[in-house]
Amino acid sequence: MVETGVSTDLLRWIPALPLLGALVHGVGLGLMRRDMPRPLVIAVSCGAPIAAFVVTCMAFAQMVAIPGEHRVLIDEVFTWIGSGRVSAEMGFAFDPLTAVMCLIVTGVGSLIHIYSIGYMDDDHRDDGGFQRFFAYLNLFLCAMLLLVLGDNLLVLFLGWEGVGLCSYLLIGFWYGDRWNAYCGMKAFVVNRIGDFGFLLGIFLLLWSLGDAATLNFAELKAALPRIVDQTVAVPGWLPGPEQWRLTTLIGLCFFLGACGKSAQIPLYTWLPDAMAGPTPVSALIHAATMVTAGIYMVCRMSFLYVEAPGASAVIAWTGAATALFAATMAIAQTDIKKVLAYSTISQLGYMFIAAGCGAYGAAIFHVGTHAFFKALLFLGSGAVIMAMHHEQDTDKMGGLRRWLPVTHAVFLVGVLAISGFPPFSGFFSKDSILLSAYTAHSVPGHQWIWAIGVITAALTAFYMWRLHFRTFFGECRADHEAQHHIHEASWVVLGPLVVLAVFAFGSGFLGLPQIYGNWLGVPDSNALANFLHGVLPHPQHEVAESTELGLALLAVGAASLGTLGAAWMYVWSPGVPVRVRAALGPVFRLVEHKFYVDEIYDALIVRPLVFVSDRVLFRVIDAGIIDGIGANGSASAVRGLGAHVLKYGQSGLTQGYLITMIVGALAIVVWMLR
């Protein structure tokens, strides 16, 4: 261990408690073949994340009590792989970055578990599945906590794969409908492509570090100076210089993994289809936690990325492109959850912009605020869906605020936060990202990134308010039968929503930039940045207060523009959208079909692969050669030998056997007497 921390036994319980919950549910289902009594299921499945949250708070208290700059709790449980030079422990490290992530995961996770009690209660579609759902959800929490708590790349990867698995299980939760199973599979396969990049990164690290090879983050950070100056030769047809920095290559490999997990271009296509899963799943996994694993990983490996400017630039630009691209697709969607899915992709793009521009703290800030308001939005949409009896198309909604006042109120908080209106949390986090983009001189074209960010902010406001107005305002487009059944959900559902709304409003103040802090007379107001100070590098930029305020005002202005546009098109002049659609014609269809990206991928990649797998590899090689010649061929050869050649040796005559015995015995006797 290079940097020491305080040793404790506490950390292992944070992932262990949800794991226990999952095991209890899983074993119970396996033994009893039907659900345990509901109160017991609720107690175990919600008790586990709440207990994990409590333990996290205890660890947090322990950690902040450590004096000095370098505060980290260590818990080495056992040596998982000990092979020669490289050994990887099942070890956990709790430093400020992990603390933030853990609190978000366990906190939001607990709220979503409570919400799910209400949401999954009326599950009539499949085999009941109440217990199975919570088993998977608990397992997901365990994997996610492993991911954030791991003190080396291997434990992180274990959690990485675990959340991928649980995502698959939960997206295809109602597997009776084949489409849901397909969506789950799509998510898993696309993630796998990213994992390939992740593994390549690990291999490159191990290979290049030689006898200092390690997977532990602290040790990697210390060993990195050995390879910062190494370069690798790349094939000539790739853009850029002939020699790439090794750190850039490694950074890009890991970023490919992050693209898969956090749904950036080109591996984002799974996230909109992942909305086939139950809404709590979309909230927890595809908004608040799993998709942020990529950001967390980049921040964890920030010591690498500061030495890989090329990779950081790619990250920033990919984030920008994704943010804009997803926002354009969101404006044409009519399904509530699909809009939120594209919104998630877009906001994740923002986080990567920050990470690419070196402002890792800002990225984590946005992770936090986004977790709150996106979970709020998803859970709120879930409440709407429940009220509309599982109708998700906003074409059939409208004017719901009259029947769903509480849901409307919390949803409004979420929309205000994501649009970036002060003093809601989204404003502060988005602003810090835009500021970092504006001042990131190491990233080529960073001003354009900033501009893209502002435009995307306008688009974000537009499509979010569009969603809000189409759902809650105007005439109700549902049929009268459905209208009679619209009512608020129970407090088990609304309670978490209210808590999330509070955080969506207030969490911004944890990262209050100093300029606003000065107005309020609070010194050192950016608590989050101070907290993460020793762990993450922060960008060196000094901007004038006026510049910062100007940028903030521009962002708010863009958001207001989007809001007004949405209000005009969907509240004041309801006939406008139809005219716009008609005017734009084919362009609109292109956007509505998500630019046909899924279809392109299918034609270029999926179909050829399936063809080769089925026609060539399966029928010719596997069934034809290996089975036909190898397995069946050798069997029929042996059988032929026995049936046509060897069987004639069996005469069945007693005296024949007798002669054989005598000759044999004589041979032995002769041999023994020689």
């Binding site: 004639y648 069996q650 005469s651 069945g652 005559l653 007693t654 005296q655 007798l658 002669i659 005598i662």
Partner: protein
């Protein structure tokens, strides 16, 4: 003492060979069994000869064992022959080649 050991062994071998020929050539199951008895007797003679040559009564003990085993074998073997005869009306050994391919 005047009888050389080689002559005793020679006699034993001759009797054994005759018994073997009978077992391999004859087709009557009962005669085959009798030939096997002859072979056993030849072995007994060899044991007795060697016991006398080397002053060891163990040879005689083994002869007793052989006689006993022969008796058991004859009992069971003739039981089989009777059972076979009941099924096939024949004690020809070529009629019981069901294990033939």
């Amino acid at each position: 003492m005047e009888i050389p050991l080689e002559h005793v062994i020679g006699l034993s071998v001759m009797l054994f060979a005759i018994g073997m020929v009978g077992a391999l050539t004859r087709r009557n199951l009962i005669v085959i069994l009798m030939s096997i008895e002859l072979m056993l007797n030849a072995a007994n003679l060899a044991f007795v000869g060697f016991a006398r040559a080397w002053n060891s009564v163990d040879g005689h003990i083994f002869v007793l064992m052989v006689i006993m085993v022969a008796a058991a074998e004859v009992a069971v073997g003739l039981g089989i022959v009777i059972a076979l005869f009941r099924n096939r009306e024949s004690v020809n050994v070529e009629d019981v080649s069901l294990l033939r391919w």
